[in-house]
């Protein structure tokens, strides 16, 4: 016993998107299914795997389809499934990991970016080793301000699909190691500030560091949607807009 609950607890502790399906009525009351996304992706989107049992294969198939939909919508839902002897009442309890924006570089743009991200429900973490930038005064509105080398700070975090990483320092020494580290993890978004020229130089450095072209292509650079803005606030808005676009596309396609 308790094996399924252990798996549920583990998934939640690891901040993994998952759903727990429970039968609320009828003779299968208390039946449970844990639905998770599988790491391997088939063509046409990720696959979903269920553990546990509802005591009926057809019901499990139907529940899995509904669970997948609820997970993609990131919403806990109650459903009724019609069966021969009436209806099955099910709760599809979706556990959504907390979305987190990691901002490498406590620069001017980071100040409005923290504000926008907070407004959209993201936890914000600002990382910068330079004490002159990383001051509590400037980042009192951030959930966390870490004064250390970005790469070291990233190593201490769980980086998953609900983590979005942006590098804003304009300093290769700080940005590049952070990018290399983030690219090695399944983070939901990676963006790097800098012009096309800066990025071309960065790509060369990353290649030299052994990062594959496929990995490098995950970097959004130049960062942000093209809103034509130049002020820190406008650039922050462009970055946030791009993150929202990427995150919503994930919801649409399940990717």
């Amino acid at each position: 016993m308790a094996e399924l609950f252990d798996a549920v607890a583990q998934a939640i502790r690891q901040d993994e998107l998952c759903a727990v399906v429970t039968v609320l009525s009828g003779d299968k009351i208390g039946g449970k299914l844990l639905v998770r996304r599988e790491r391997k992706r088939e063509a046409g989107g990720p696959s979903f795997a269920a553990t546990g049992s509802l005591g009926d294969t057809a019901l499990e198939q139907a529940a899995l389809a509904h669970a997948r939909e609820a997970m993609e919508a990131r919403r806990t839902t109650r459903i009724s499934l019609p069966v021969e002897e009436g209806e099955w009442e099910l709760l599809i309890d979706v556990h959504v990991p907390q979305e987190k924006l990691v901002i490498v570089g406590a620069v001017h743009i980071a100040i409005p970016l923290v504000a926008f991200a907070r407004e959209l429900g993201l936890k914000t973490v600002v990382v910068d080793a330079r004490p002159i930038f990383a001051t509590q005064d400037r980042f009192d509105h951030a959930d966390e301000l870490i004064r250390s080398w970005p790469e070291d700070a990233l190593r201490e975090m769980k980086l998953n699909e609900s983590t979005y990483v942006v590098t804003l320092t304009h300093d290769e020494k700080l940005d590049t190691p952070a990018l290399v580290y983030a690219l090695d993890h399944p983070v939901g978004y990676i963006g790097a500030l800098g012009s096309k020229r800066t990025h071309a130089k960065r790509v060369a450095v990353l290649r030299e560091a052994g990062v594959s072209d496929e990995q490098i292509s995950r970097i959004h650079a130049p960062i942000g949607l093209d809103l034509g803005g130049r002020s820190p606030g406008e650039i922050a808005l462009a970055i946030m807009a791009e993150i929202v676009q990427v995150r919503n596309r994930v919801k649409e396609t399940g990717r």
């Binding site: 016993m1 308790a2 399924l4 609950f5 607890a9 939640i12 502790r13 429970t22 609320l24 009525s25 009351i29 208390g30 449970k32 546990g52 806990t76 839902t77 109650r78 009442e89 709760l91 309890d93 979706v94 556990h95």
Partner: protein, 104 residues
């Protein structure tokens, strides 16, 4: 859910039975959303919430019965009947709570 895991763990490690209550339906305005959870140990300790305070003690009573029978149950709380005033939701909403033994 995350916030109640540590307590559930420590109860289970000391060999205590645990029941889990989950909000499975919300009518009107209720203080806690669908999926909100309260865990109850066999000695009546609780962690988490299903309503923000008003129906917690009634839920604990139900949870202890669920632990003694071993059968899950679906319970409705609200202002629909006379006695509900005592356990009723201050906001006037109605909630349905599924209570199950944590033995899966």
């Amino acid at each position: 859910m995350k916030e109640i895991l540590a307590d559930i763990d420590s109860w289970q490690q000391t060999g205590k039975q645990v029941a889990l209550a989950t909000v499975v339906q919300v009518y009107g305005s209720a203080p806690r959303p669908l999926g909100a959870k309260l865990a109850v140990s066999e000695d009546g300790a609780m962690v988490g919430s299903v309503s923000g305070g008003c129906v917690e003690s009634a839920t604990v009573q139900e949870a202890l019965e669920v632990l003694s029978t071993g059968r899950p149950r679906l319970v409705s709380f609200g202002i629909a009947d006379e006695t509900a005033w005592e356990v009723g939701l201050a906001c006037g909403g109605t909630i349905e709570v599924f209570i199950e033994p944590l033995n899966w």
